[in-house]
Symmetry: C2
């Protein structure tokens, strides 16, 4: 067999145990909040037919960022899923047996061919909660309460949820400013965080927006204020525009239910994806420059593209990798736990009576739910101890001839340095108290 | 936006909440056993460079079953991972910082372009536990004890673990029978369950094996017996063959540690993958025709293909979908749980004082860890109740003007039909007792 240099595709990564242990803890917390809010889990395949994803995200996503490939055995075109929202829409169209509203969560990887950067990989996990079937602000409010609770559960402080509404944007950009293709303008504005105001100006110019209109846009998107204040402002300026009014009314009703000071109106929040139709959301952390740690919104027309009948929906997606980055930076998460191992059994003697005594103890502790490792390398007891220490196991057990004869076990608690002799029969119970 | 018929690639599937709820329970049990045995989690990307997977699984796997595709933006070739073993080998080569033995588990989907059939999909989950670094039977024994414990934890009875050793096969097939390319013969034998003995004979003939040798092969692979009995038999017939003796000795030592009657020697167990070098395993359930529910073995040369130095390894892979099929057939699993929702709050009145009372109760119960849903559809209370019943929620709460005035809540337990009035302050506590 010939040697092959080990390598991984660019923008992808492995996760080591200390990373996975934290990740599983974070995912479990997110999932517990999803469940508390009455959301149930589904799963969809990583591989979708390209035609299903096509026409949903916009031209750049579809042609530059989506992992598309031809069936090696047939003539179909496939794509790795780009988010969990379009697969949900397809799912809903193919499984019509659920009573509405259908509240589902989905925690799974998605693939995007973006430039790798901090907290952003080409394969990353989204944790989505969506409500299918309700056109009412109650559903958006439920989603926002859930989002706030997820970040609270994770201990991430300083979270602000930015809010806007595609109808407000439509009223202002299409009707007041007369822009014909607003999605292009939104996608330029959406890059504000990445490329700055001058960058956005440049992009807008490039897509043919006049300097006068660009100045107006720059002025408009500077509106960022507590929701009630923003609503008064918008009402004063665009009170006669039907779309703006519709959006305002919807946001007001959401606000009445959610009653949170952390929800802030931000006109520069536009979201880059095509499918939004109503309120849109994005969560950021004050003072941390990593972009959004979650986002979502209402997409009342997406499911209709598969069903032919209107099925309103709204949802929120937590960016797992970003959340972990932020939690680490804030010091609320750490990766100090390197193993689930709780006990390492050092066998002091190769004698078969000692070995049998030890292996029986290993079996017994495992059947008591304790995580145990033992020597699989035929090492000297010094080397076994060295391994146990490298593994950062909290408790080390020593078993030799003396222990077999006395019916006891010597335990060593690595954190405190305490050493004790325990009766064989009391071992599992004692360890459970220590661990 | 134009209508698109919803569709999913052939051989793939969605999982609905009742399927996911069972699946999560099964995965949690498997994971708990992995942890008890001192295995730690890792993750690797779904997308690998094709060159990493190439030359590891055999020609059919590589050219017919592997999902390969070209980078749409560059000239690299990618593949969706085909199992979790080769990615582990690459991982070990790229992360050399772990003390050996490195015991890792990995629960993740893999992709194979096989004909869809019962319990077999083109995307399916494997639950792998592997030990990297030990050449000793202790490691294989650890793996077999773990496999037995996983099936025990899941309540699946009648599991037999078939065992053989590639060195025994090498000694007999290559040296005694003079077969030059044994992998082709193994792959033919590996199909025994699918195509029967006559099918295997046909396949062997097609790859150029003579009738005389085919008769011998058929006779040889009929050996299936308790491990000790099989070892005596093999010793008598091939006692002078060094490879057979090596294999026998290794299996004997495994057996001394594992001491299980459910481990059976089976000469027709060969495993179709190229990379095995020592003991090989496969778990089946007596009387259930679904093929194996898990398998594995020792692969002492695989990691060397990436590192250049020998790193022995052994492991076992639980086939999650097959295990679930079998558990359902045996009646030890069921999919009766359709939702995590525990409480549905019926709001009897659209009055804002009632609404506020209700939403505060929803918030309060959720902060107590109870899973709650409420009306997001502005439905009449009769329709709300109907929805709650369709959702199969165990407890329904009724909140109207009377409840607001009395400071109480009416609860209805759907399983028993019991109806009670509870003081607002006692609600969370009472519900926790009921649920």
């Amino acid at each position: 067999m010939s040697r092959r240099e080990p390598a991984i595709p660019r923008g992808f990564r492995d996760l080591e145990p200390h990373e996975m242990i934290l990740r599983k803890e974070v995912m479990a917390k997110i999932e517990s909040v999803f469940r508390r809010y009455g959301f149930d889990p589904i799963d969809t395949p990583a591989v979708e037919l390209f035609e299903i994803l096509s026409g949903k995200y916009g031209e750049e996503a579809e042609n530059k960022l989506m992992w598309r490939f031809r069936d090696p055995w047939g003539d179909r075109e496939y794509a790795l899923r780009y988010d969990l929202t379009v697969p949900l829409a397809r799912f809903v169209a193919m499984h019509r047996n659920f009573p509405l509203p259908f509240k589902r969560y989905h925690i799974a990887p998605v693939w995007r061919h973006e430039e790798p950067q901090r907290g952003r990989y080409r394969e990353f996990y989204q944790c989505d909660a969506d409500i299918v079937g309700s056109p009412y602000p109650e559903a958006d409010a439920e989603i926002l309460m859930l989002a706030e609770d997820v970040y609270r559960e994770l201990g991430i402080e300083g979270v602000r949820i930015m809010i806007n509404d595609r109808r407000i944007l439509k009223g202002i950009f299409e009707e007041e400013l007369g822009i014909r293709d607003p999605m292009n303008v939104y996608r330029a504005i959406d890059k504000l965080d990445k490329i700055g105001l001058e960058g956005v100006r440049g992009d807008l110019k490039r897509i043919g927006i006049s300097e006068t209109i660009i100045d107006k846009i720059v002025n408009i998107i500077s509106l960022r204020a507590p929701l009630e204040e923003a609503i008064r402002d918008l009402q004063a300026r665009y009170g006669s525009n039907q779309h703006v009014i519709e959006g305002i009314k919807h946001l007001e009703e959401i606000s009445t239910i959610v009653r949170s000071k952390n929800i802030v109106f931000d006109m520069s929040l536009v979201r880059g994806l095509d499918y939004y139709t109503g309120p849109i959301f994005e969560a950021i952390v004050e003072g941390i420059k990593i972009g959004s740690i979650g986002g979502g919104g209402r997409y009342d027309n997406l499911i209709e593209m598969f069903t032919g009948t209107k099925v309103p929906a709204t949802g929120f997606s937590i960016g797992l990798d970003r959340v972990i980055e932020v939690g680490l930076e804030l010091g609320v998460f750490n990766m100090s736990k390197k193993t689930y191992n709780q006990v390492y059994v050092v066998v002091m003697d190769r004698d078969s009576s000692v070995f049998n005594y030890a292996i029986n103890i290993v079996r017994d502790l495992r059947s008591n739910g304790i995580s145990v490792s033992w020597d699989l390398m035929r090492r000297s007891y010094q080397k076994q101890r060295e391994y146990a220490r490298k593994l950062s196991v909290p408790v080390i057990l020593y078993i030799g001839k003396a222990e077999v004869e006395s019916g006891k076990v010597t335990i060593y608690i690595t954190t405190s340095g305490e050493r004790r002799e325990i009766e064989r029969d009391m071992l599992a119970k004692t360890l459970k108290e220590i661990l």
